[in-house]
Assembly symmetry: C2
Homo-oligomer: 354 residues x 2
């Protein structure tokens, strides 16, 4: 995914210099030959030169790596990551990290990995979660938001714990399930007819994510184990309820459960409400750490999408403003009301954003 980001930055976002760091020289050479990086570097060298460092590594490696990178980078360098879980890495940060590290997680499929599978359009239309902490610097958040938007993704701020609970449900549980299902089918052969060879197209869809990298996923699941276990248990309870209804011949409950499922499925397939323009707002941002994080996260939790944002700092210690361009009809009114509840003065923005 690191190579896809390099490609997207260079081909779509007009970024000339993308420095590549990897312990595997073959991966670096391949990334360079595909144009995903402009130059292969040693870590300390790359980090010292970078405005923005993106860590694309297994989740277990991220805390140490983030510490090394924060120590080696300049005082104005943003550090972010692409990890699938966010609580662990955010909790591991020290004082400097809490200011300059902002977690990230682009939600985009892709069973394959490595620079050979890199695609410049991987992030187009994808949700890219950002987890700015309570001390995150506003200017670095703005920089990260711009980078994410520049590769076509929708930046959405979220609290790390909320992110991990959501991912437990919509990503980690499905991975566990797909594996369990396909293993159950592989182990079953009634009267010699192997179940796996009888699977139709819907089974193939359902188990597609079972093709993911087992080592990476074992780490992701363990990193988020509490939330994953809780979702497994909730699903187990739902399945038990369905089995009871089947045993009791309770057609009414079954049809109602399936109808609820279809309604939720239709909602999932509907075009996103945040597709169109939603107007711009101006919000007063007190000069304290994390004020912008709080604003962005409040909007993110409410599914109000920020298309672009632009900081206008105030006097030192005073109040600045941020102009936020929103997506989705009615977003400006909702955002103003929501921010007022949290004590932020927000109003419609009259002039053009830039």
């Amino acid at each position: 995914m690191g190579a896809s980001l390099g490609l997207a930055l260079r081909e779509r976002a007009g970024t000339d210099v993308v420095l590549g760091v990897d312990p595997d020289p073959d991966a670096l050479a391949l990334a360079a030959s595909r144009g995903a990086i402009s130059e292969a570097c040693a870590l300390e060298d790359a980090v010292a030169r970078a405005e923005c460092v993106v860590l694309a590594a297994p989740v277990t490696a991220l805390p140490d790596l983030a510490g090394r990178v924060l120590a080696a980078s300049a005082a104005d360098t943003l550090v972010t990551d692409l990890g699938s879980t966010k609580t662990g890495i955010m909790r591991s940060l020290d004082g400097e990290g809490r200011k300059r590290f902002i977690g990230g997680h682009p939600v985009c499929g892709g069973e394959t990995s490595g620079p050979g599978a890199a695609r410049a359009d991987l992030f187009e239309g994808a949700t890219w979660f950002l987890t700015p902490g309570a001390e995150a610097r506003a200017d670095l958040y703005e920089r990260l938001h711009r980078m994410v938007a520049a590769v076509g993704a929708r930046a959405t701020a979220i609290a790390p714990e909320v992110h991990d609970r959501l991912m437990a449900l919509v990503s980690h549980l499905p991975h566990v399930l797909a594996s369990a299902l396909v293993n159950q089918a592989a182990a079953s052969a009634p009267e010699g007819r192997e179940a796996l060879d009888s699977a139709g197209p819907s089974f193939r869809d359902l188990t597609r994510v079972a093709g993911s990298n087992p080592e990476l996923w074992a780490d992701i699941l363990l990193d988020n184990r509490e939330a994953v276990v809780s979702e497994i248990e909730a699903l187990g309870a739902r399945l038990t309820r369905a089995a009871e209804a089947l045993r009791a011949g309770d057609r009414e409950w079954l049809a109602a459960e399936l109808a609820r499922g279809r309604a939720a499925h239709e909602r999932l397939r509907a075009p996103r409400a945040d597709a169109g323009p939603g107007g711009a707002i101006t919000v007063a941002v007190p000069d304290r750490p994390g004020a912008l994080s709080e604003i962005a996260t409040a909007l993110g939790h409410a599914h109000i999408n920020i298309a672009d944002l632009s900081l206008r700092p105030g006097p030192p210690g005073g109040v600045g403003t941020v102009v936020i361009e929103l997506a989705g009809a009615g977003s400006a009114e909702r955002a103003i009301a929501l921010l007022a509840e949290r004590g932020f003065a927000a109003e419609p923005h009259r002039a053009a954003l830039h």
Copy 2:
């Protein structure tokens, strides 16, 4: 699916006359305008004229419908169905039905239904299960096999109980699961961030079948309730095992389970072994009911695919032969050995099939 079969028969199999029967006149008019039927008929009229009657109706309606159709049809008319479960309908048959009714189940996705969604290529490459009973007439089985092959599907004979256990695992359980998952996501909103709106592409794949018709599916699940409950329980045990491993931090087990899942997934995606020609065999068929059913079902359970078959009846009460053209390298040798174990004399066929 009835309309898709009509289209496929008329556009791809060279069948001129397809008589359509439906209680809904609008559905019939639409089927006629799309070319899926050549003529709309009353049931008794259509059945009296047909060589082959295909029942496309909800599984709960099939036993009564099959009884009516068998009573109204001629002594040489084949009756079959497209139902997703097979044990119930096969057990409901009377003496005449056991000779002339052969169950069918084309395994092809499609969330949408009705003549408006009909597609002539729906069956191309699909597995089409056939459940010939122990008294099924060989000539009618041959006729059904030809029809299925003519629309591009792979006819595969299977015992009804084996079919229903397999479908419980590879189709019915996935439907229950997709509903449960999407309902769990719809019901969850940690700190106001709705889970369903955070779902990425893998969740969408996994819950696609949640869009199926709830009323039809409630009946399918209930019709196969014993097998479905048993698969739900087996999956529950697998999920419990995964939750235990997560709680215990057992990375080794998790990575191994995920690796097994990936291997099974790769096998599922691999091109089918039965794609190429597999040679032809000649099998002696005693003139007793169900002999051909037994041969076809034995091959079906062993995943030996019959591309075509051609009966050459013997003298009344004596032994005829069937020439079976197989698909998949090495199939002829496997089939001959398997049939010998079951007391059928089989040998390689030397001449061309037709």
